[in-house]
Amino acid sequence: MSEIWSAEYTAEKGDVPLYMFRKHEGPPDAANPRPVLFLVHGSSFSGPSGFDLTVPGRDDYSLMDAFARLGYDVWTLDHEGYGRSGRTDGNAPISEGVNDLIAGMDVVEKETGQTSHFFYGQSSGALRAACFAAARPETVRRVVLDAFVWTGEGAPTLIERAKKLDQWRASNMRPVDRAFYHSIFNRDLPGTSEAAVPDALADAELQLCSEVPTGTYLDMCAHLPVVDPLDITCPVLILRGEHDGIATEEDLIAFFQLLPNQDKQFSIIAGQAHVAPLGLNRRRFWHVMDGFFKMPARRDPYEDEDRQKIEERRRAGGRS
């Protein structure tokens, strides 16, 4: 088995530098490019901390390593205000996250020569990825939206979070500490992840920051929906942990039913909570994602016609 190769990059969003991290099984080979998988983090921890986590005594928590070994060229980015990226006076809402991704794509294209990629977004990262897919459809081949929420109606986690809405509005940053990271893994159903994971995540994250931006929390509590399903034209997988208070199943099914591309999938993973990539059943989760990305190409004569119909509907204003 080849070694995992990695590299760091910096994207520029105006004068805000954005940290990017890439992993690949062996060094990239321009003659044999692998499909790019871009991982989009959520509200509370940065890209490498979540997607390339080292848990003491364990060697199987890195989503980046797993997908590098499955044949992908795996990238992630720290959004503005997170991890190793630059800070501003802003609160880094979803819309800014889309701008971060646009900046990140310049780097990916320069390094790989590729212009269309697989995307995975987790929690508010799923909202960023969905909004990005709507804004830049030519850049997204297939997208996985995990721990996603559409309208937020009836979502226990968001109802609880909204109690602090004034606090999220009052400040662009919110403090994070070890207890907070534990709460992420225990708020839905304790026992769906190993106890060492929140500590490892806290160890990784707290050496980078003591606070994170409030923009995505504010968006999720006060501004949903932030994306119209009819604007997402690529194939979509909605991935949901069985125990995830971020949304109701009804909310996600309604979103799924409106997705215009008829290459779409909704998977619920039993025994998983909100942060499924770091849960006990993460291998089941990875398996479903990999299967979705590796869907064989269509062979019927209607692909171009279908693409045209979807695009016409989007240009006509979607829902109308």
């Binding site: 999938q265 909704f266 619920i268 039993a270 025994g271 089941r284 869907m295 269509r298 019927d300 279908d306």
Partner: protein, 303 residues
């Protein structure tokens, strides 16, 4: 690589002998299940081997059995009563509930041959209804269940509305004539061009060698007796595959069924560019890929 191995068996539902067919890579060791077991359940209009092990002249890659055998499965199917190489009891309509009895008889054969009788099960069209009813009746026999071209209540289904125009005819006889034109209609009724023309011909040739009529029971069930199974009664992990162009049900009807499935290990996949008989369509490899991924789900490791 080892050769494709096949064998036929006979299941017995009382006096009715039922054809059972098995394919896998390499000969099995009697009484041992050394590969995951996959059982394929056919629908209303053609037998198991014709549909799932079809040989299309000049066009390899149509046998779903062989594809899954190559992927490491021990693949089984049967011809239900009145179909293909199975017996047809006098006057039998071969309703879906009798199809469940057929499957129970087949499980005995599998258990004798492998020592196990818990399978991953796939059913298409009324085969999905048989498989879902079987999973509800015999949960101990079904590990994971994939249902394609499924219908729940039938409300708003164009195909069933059309079919119901002949309900009196289906009720008046337990036999329904099939011919080349009928088989061609299966592939063209939803979206012409989603299957190769040669497929309907090969399927018709295969079936014509076995029969001129098939039972009417599942047609009657689908026109007059839906729903036959409630989602709450299907307890195992379930995949529901819905083709974009399939008049057998509406999107809303099958989503309602899926949403109410109680096991939270479940998946709904909508597939573009496919119609009712997806397993024999141009995009069958996409369809098989989705099934394979679902059946190959790693085991749970939470408490």
């Amino acid at each position: 690589m080892s050769e494709m191995w096949s064998s036929e068996y006979r299941a017995h539902k009382g006096d009715v002998g039922l054809h059972v067919w098995r394919k896998r890579i390499g000969a099995p060791n009697a009484g041992q299940a050394d590969k995951p077991l996959l059982f394929l359940v056919h629908g209303s209009s053609f037998s198991g081997r014709s549909g799932f092990d079809l040989q299309v002249p000049g066009k390899p890659g149509y046998s779903m059995m062989e594809a899954f055998a190559e992927w490491g499965f021990d693949v089984w199917l049967m011809d239900h009563e009145g179909y293909g190489r199975s017996d047809w009891g006098e006057g039998a309509f071969a309703y879906v509930k009798e199809g469940v009895d057929d499957l129970k008889a087949a499980m005995e054969v599998i258990e004798t041959a492998t020592g196990h009788a818990k399978v991953s099960m796939y059913g298409g069209s009324s085969g999905a209804l048989r498989a879902a009813c079987f999973a509800a009746a015999c949960p101990e026999n079904v590990d994971r269940l994939a249902l394609a071209a499924m219908v729940y209540t039938g409300q708003g289904s164009p195909t069933l509305a059309k079919r119901a125009e002949k309900l009196d005819e289906w009720r008046s006889s337990n036999k329904r004539a099939v011919d080349h034109a009928f088989f061609a209609s299966i592939f063209n009724r939803d979206k012409p061009g989603t299957a190769e023309d040669e497929v309907a011909v090969a399927l018709a040739d295969s079936e014509a060698a076995l029969c001129t009529h098939v039972p009417t029971g599942t047609y009657i069930n689908m026109c007059a007796h839906l729903p036959l199974v409630e989602p709450e009664d299907v307890k195992c992990p379930t995949l529901l595959v819905r083709s974009e162009h399939d008049g057998i049900a509406t999107d809303a009807d099958v989503m309602e069924f899926w949403a109410r499935l109680p096991n939270k290990d479940k998946q709904f996949t909508q597939m573009d560019g496919q119609s009712h008989a997806a397993a024999l369509g141009l995009n069958r490899w996409r369809f098989w890929h989705v099934l394979k991924t679902f059946f190959a789900m790693p085991p749970r490791c939470d408490v």
